[in-house]
């Protein structure tokens, strides 16, 4: 019989009395949902913090002298060509 049901489960849950076995757990679900959401958000935040830290680790490395040397050389070449 569940196979014939077109409604997604979430919607059925929101209708009181849609099924006798749902009725009981509905209130419990409602209480649990925000907590689960909070936890998911917290975890996403945690991943975000880590991600930034990973990136910032490289950002805070000293710039290899090679970069500056190459740029200086290019700048000099520009000046000479003028």
């Amino acid at each position: 019989m569940t196979g014939d049901q077109k409604e997604p489960r979430g919607q059925a849950l929101r209708k009181p009395g849609a099924g006798d076995m749902i009725e009981h757990s509905a209130s419990e679900d409602r209480r649990r949902a925000p907590a689960a959401l909070d936890e998911a958000r917290l975890r996403q935040q945690a991943i975000g913090v880590r991600l930034r830290q990973m990136f910032d680790e490289v950002v805070s490395e000293p710039v290899p002298e090679e970069f500056l040397a190459i740029l200086r050389q290019a700048d000099k070449k520009t000046a000479e060509n003028d």
Partner: protein, 201 residues
């Protein structure tokens, strides 16, 4: 080609100086972004240097006052993908090298969780990883990230959201390439670290 009219006298040298100063300030960010794209730190620095020089050569086409960080990131990204197309070998080595390096780069003192995050990142499709890094670590707005990647804002949004979900799932069930035993430990460690880090700020 016909840029001659404006290429002229050294009245430009002051603008060049300002451009150079800003470009130098962006080098650390270019290096960090390159590190997330290229396989190992050495080729990442090559990539960052190439991008830096491309930006320098194209300085006449940059409008001072607009977002130079986004502009240079776009150059770097284009550089990376055009090089990648050129060498077929690269794509083969990519995944392997990425995983190896992400670990190798790691500070031995760093907590385990960082390793897990790097491995999990490496397991994401490139376009998702890139979007997540630009928005989640590079500090770009969705609009800027879209410009950098040459795609629609909505595309970036959905890539970031898919990346977040995937990353979460990978960390949760340990499907990154490891022994797979310490799956929930990884997430636990990340949570603990994040807590420590955010309270330290």
């Amino acid at each position: 080609m016909a840029a001659a009219s404006n290429a002229g006298p050294s009245g430009d040298s002051r603008a060049d100086e300002a451009f150079k100063r800003e470009l130098v300030g962006l080098i650390p960010h270019l290096r960090a972004f390159a590190r997330t794209l290229a396989g190992d730190p050495a080729s990442a620095d090559d990539l960052a240097q190439d991008a830096m020089m491309k930006a320098w050569d194209a300085r006449a086409s940059f409008q001072m006052g607009t977002n130079m960080k986004a502009w240079t990131f776009m150059i770097l990204r284009n550089q990376f993908y055009s090089e990648k197309r050129r060498s077929w070998r690269q794509s083969q080595l990519d995944q392997e090298a990425a995983e190896r390096t992400l670990v190798a780069v790691d500070d031995p003192e760093a907590p385990v969780a960082l390793d897990e995050l790097r491995l999990s990142l490496a397991a994401l499709p490139a376009e998702q990883r890139e979007a997540l890094i630009l928005v989640g670590a590079g500090g770009f707005a969705y609009e800027e990230a879209a410009e950098i990647c040459g795609c629609a804002v909505g595309t970036v949004k959905s890539r970031v959201s898919r990346a977040r979900k995937a990353l979460h799932a990978i960390l949760e069930d340990g499907s990154y390439e490891r022994d797979g035993s310490a799956a929930s430990d990884a997430m636990g460690a990340i949570l603990a670290d994040a807590e420590r880090l955010s309270s330290a700020r």
